[in-house]
């Protein structure tokens, strides 16, 4: 359904006349199927957030194409209502001048699918993410981090998209809230039959929610494995990532 086809991206390095460019993504290609949760794991600076921005069509790749059901995501009409996103930073993820209700209705309004039952739609969405309808008239600064992130999820769901990109969406929440949100995301995926592209640095989170993970390093795909075979990864880098995790767990227990 979502097909990333040999994309490359580089950024100009400092200086107006500098010709030097830093290659951030090198020949990345993969596919995300309908109803699948694809995890993209990598260290900070590995280019995974850039990949997320390219999938969302916010930036254009230098080379290659990203196709959503055969159409290029750079066209905003392809994205509208079909692809959605949840970002990391909950403090800046909702316009401070909008109420929760207005924020959730924003993508719907853009689609010009304004219906009479919009109010009840907002209520349903809020209930689905575990908030009650009293939140409708609140402003973003009146919400806690977990609540704001739930509102963002509700907003992403509002157009019933077929694919949602989560860019470190739960990394800034504390652990207990993370588990709640992850459970919620699993349920919603079942309910709406959506695909997730789950960008994270946390293998445990990826192991919990994803069907398949891509291990990403220096702008390249190091390895792609189904989650059941995560223990049997081949590449050196991926094995090292896993050992870090295991030692960390042992220390935790001891």
């Amino acid at each position: 359904m979502l097909k990333v086809d040999g994309i490359e991206k580089s950024y100009k390095q400092d200086g107006l006349f500098s010709k030097q460019r830093q290659q951030v993504l090198k020949k990345v290609a993969f596919e995300c199927k309908q109803g699948e949760c694809l995890g993209i794991i990598g260290e900070s600076g590995s280019g995974k957030s850039t990949l997320g921005r390219l999938i969302l069509g916010i930036e254009k790749p230098d080379r290659g194409r990203i196709l959503f059901e055969g159409k290029n995501v750079n066209d905003r009409r392809v994205r509208m209502g079909s692809i959605s996103a949840v970002f990391q930073n909950y403090t800046s993820s909702i316009n401070p001048f909008l109420t929760v209700e207005e924020a959730i209705m924003e993508p719907l309004k853009a689609q010009e699918k304004v219906k009479a039952d919009m109010q009840s739609k907002v209520d349903t969405l809020l209930h689905q993410v575990g908030l009650d309808s009293s939140y409708r008239l609140k402003y973003p600064h009146e919400l806690s981090g977990g609540e704001a992130q739930r509102v963002c999820i509700a907003r992403a769901l509002s157009t019933e998209p077929r694919c949602i990109v989560f860019d470190e969406a739960i990394s800034s929440l504390d652990v207990s809230v993370q588990i709640q949100v992850l459970r919620l995301l699993k349920e919603l995926k079942q309910l709406y039959q959506m695909s997730y592209v789950f960008i994270t640095h946390d293998i445990q989170v990826a192991a919990y929610i994803c069907d398949r993970v891509i291990i990403f390093r220096d702008g390249q795909i190091e390895e792609m494995v189904p989650i059941e075979q995560l223990k049997d990864v081949q590449s050196v880098y991926a094995r090292r990532l896993l050992t870090y995790l295991i030692t960390f767990q042992v220390e935790d227990q001891g």
Binding site: I83, S84, A85, S92, I94, N95, P96, A103, A110
Partner: protein
């Protein structure tokens, strides 16, 4: 939006006073023929340097003209036309700044180089040059102001737009396929409005002072017409024998400039979205109630 702004401002006494001063002065300027007790250009040599009387509240100047009437007519060039020039340069600067800050990249680089060129001319000198080419007159000074100031506004607004266009709600709006125009009007204009309002009212003051300064030099509005800077210039000769003639336009400038400065400070606070609450009205009721109970007990 406007109602909410006024509600927030109404809690601040200084801001309300400044706003009232500005509104009164602007109204007096617009309705000058009805507000002014005399014709501002009527010469009456019998009343030369007369001190204040019931007929002429602020006395008469060196040609026996009514100072109060001249002060009221002077609002038009000193405040109203400056406001118009300000709005034009802010509008131009805002459009350019929004384009540069939102689209970034090459567009931004070109626009900013043009702004750099405009900003590398010293403001006063350019104004003098424009007046030198087109001749003395208020319109020419205002044209020079718009030409000189828009680059500065564009630069400041661009920075503010850039900062807010990195916000994740803008990214979300882009990702969900909302058009650029809609994103700018819905997400970037409201958040940058506070910055724009503050820099606009801040430079209102400097523009008023500059117009008065240029009129003082005799480059602005021409002789019989009233303007505050020119009134100061005319009173200069009798500065020590009749200081009150300088006091009237001087005070008028100081009062209007301070009012704009105070208002710009208060606007910055009143436009903060964190002041909005879902329970705003409820809280007010609660406060009212406790006060009532307190006074009863």
């Amino acid at each position: 939006m406007l109602m909410r702004l006024l509600r927030n401002l109404s809690k601040d006494k200084l801001a309300m006073t400044s706003l009232a001063v500005i509104v009164i002065i602007v109204a007096a300027g617009i309705f000058a023929p009805w507000c002014a007790p005399h014709d501002p250009e009527e010469v009456n040599m019998k009343l030369r340097y007369a001190s204040s009387s019931w007929g002429y509240w602020l006395g008469n100047d060196h040609l026996g003209r009514c100072v109060l009437s001249r002060l009221i007519y002077g609002i038009r060039p000193s405040v109203l036309w400056v406001l118009v020039a300000l709005m034009m340069s802010v509008l131009l600067g805002a459009i350019v700044g929004f384009i540069a800050g939102y689209f970034k990249g090459k567009t931004d680089a070109w626009i900013m180089r043009v702004c750099d060129v405009m900003l590398s001319f010293p403001g006063y000198v350019m104004t003098l040059a424009v007046v030198g080419i087109l001749g003395a007159g208020l319109e020419h000074i205002l044209i020079a102001f718009v030409v000189m100031k828009w680059a500065w506004f564009a630069r400041v607004i661009r920075t503010s737009v850039m900062q807010f266009s990195e916000m994740e709600y803008v990214k979300f709006a882009k990702a969900s396929g909302i058009g650029s125009f809609r994103i700018i009007t819905k997400h970037i204009v409201p958040v940058t409005f506070a910055d724009v309002a503050v820099i606009a009212s801040g430079s209102m003051c400097s523009m008023m002072l500059q117009i008065s300064g240029l009129s003082f030099l005799g480059l602005g509005i021409q002789a019989p017409h009233a303007e505050w800077g020119m009134m100061l210039n005319e009173a200069r000769e009798v500065m020590f024998s009749r200081p009150e003639l300088m006091l009237a336009p001087g005070l008028a400038i100081v009062i209007v400039v301070s009012a704009f400065n105070f208002l710009s400070d208060a606007l910055q606070i009143a436009l903060n979205p964190k002041l909005m609450t879902s329970k705003g009205k409820l809280r007010k009721k609660e406060v009212g109630k406790t006060v009532y109970e307190y006074s009863r007990g």
